[in-house]
Amino acid sequence: MVEISNLVKTFGQFTAVDNLSMQVNEGEVFGMLGLNGAGKSTTMRCMLSLIKPDSGQIQFFGKNISTDRNYILGKIGCLIEKSDHYNYLSAHKNLVLSSKLSGYIPTQKEIDFVFELVGLKGREHQQVKTFSQGMKQRLGIANTLIHNPSLIILDEPANGLDPQGIIDLRNLILRLKNEWKKTIILSSHILSEIELIADSMVIIHKGKNVIQGKTNELLSGNEVVVEVEVDDSNSVVEIISKVFPQLPSKIIDSKSFSVKMQKSDLNVLHRELVNNGINIYNFTTRNKLEDYFLKLTYENEQPVFHS
């Protein structure tokens, strides 16, 4: 349904999107995961023709966005970053104007239904300037749905939502996929948000497609990363090096370390630590993808220590 190939976008010396390619299949929830500034939003903006890419192809429904922009945008509903509305208009007016601009005049029944769906029923005639950020975000989602698009693009849709709002959004996305067979592309910098709803996903880092695949496949696998909190991480790592000389271990700080290993060896590690009289304060495991994403986060936030 969506195919991006060799997309490049630079801003001066900075390459925001670097030869990125990805595919989205019809009827799936597709997650774009990446840190802030990874290039997710720029990619989405290129997809929606808000930004003109330097090179590369973006195709929707077999048509190119650069040549069939209006046809494509008529079939898309989108919410880019935070939802912004005409604050001096009511939610109802905002919704109707948005729909009309998409070339669709909604019935009152459809309007009521969409407001019900996003949890704004009863507030539709209030001016948007009286809305909280969460309510504005809900209205933004309503705007993406009102003209019944085939493809919904949501850039960081959970921004500004409270925990209940995030759960509601998640359920709504799943309903859109399951009941109305919509294709949904959403971006986030939080892995858990993506892994809970996305059928497929891509990790974007420094504008590149680092990994793409089915979410369940990426999140499964036997290799895990164990993070352990102890009294003295240096002495413990020495012990582990003797027991598992082939495994890479990493000191995180003076009281914690991590080690990459097979899931089946977890009990061996645990036993060795107990047998050596080491006090364990925390013992958590993450799969490879989680660890990879976390590593990216650390690369961006603090230096990584390798042993």
């Binding site: 209006n70 005409y86 208009l89 104007l97 601009l101």
Partner: protein
Amino acid sequence: MKMNSLYSIVKIECVKYWSKPRTYIGFIAITTIVLLIQLALYTDGKNYWDFLTQSLSQSFEIEGMEFNGNMVCFIILQTLIVQMPLMVALVSGDIVSGEVQSGTIRSLLTKPVSRTKILISKFIAAEIYTLALIIWLGVLAYFLSLFLFGKGDVVVLKSDALTVIRSADVGIRFLFAFFMAFLSLSVINCFAFMLSTFSNNSITPIVISMSVVILFTIIGTFDIPLFESIKPYLFTTHTIVWRNFFDNPIDWELIISSTCFLIVHIIVFLGASIYYFNKKDFLQ
């Protein structure tokens, strides 16, 4: 899913335009200024007029020189022409940049409407606002003045000549004058609009366009040789061309050349806006 016509987009833009409180500032300002002038002239207009024409009565016996609605309308138009560009700039300077600043441009540009169509519809909405402002001015300055002061000849006092326009001839001249004022305000409108497409915040284009209007007007008032040579090329110089409809005979050559000058400015400003807007990356 039907495609949007320009008409339907203009309608949407108008709804947005007329829902903004800022849109009404111009109307409130015009109403206040016009009513104040009318009140002042209603209470003390005769004395003022007598004082004004004192030097004339030394040489002539002046017949029928009564203060009338047409005169009041002329005075109002002459007084307000300095302020109206500022009112137009205040609203048009915000029309694109305001949407960029608030982020609503993202939603607008991801709709199945070309950027050119969006921009032209915004321009038309701004022009409708300008026209409405002129019509409102016309209603207050012309019809209300006629109602309050009655009909009569217009005595046009310029720095170097005095022209008397007969009452029967005044209405059509005002119609042309209001149209010409609309055209000259359209240039200011277009200028502010162009700056609005260039900018990502709403204050900068408003401030720049107002500053340019004030600067050009000041240059226009100084009779310094250096300024004299550049005056014909300033679009503000042509904002008072409406007054030429109150000459006898009407200098059509001057009016046509000014009209062409203003239209060329509109085309250039609008063309630059469309070109830039189509190329612009919306990163906000």
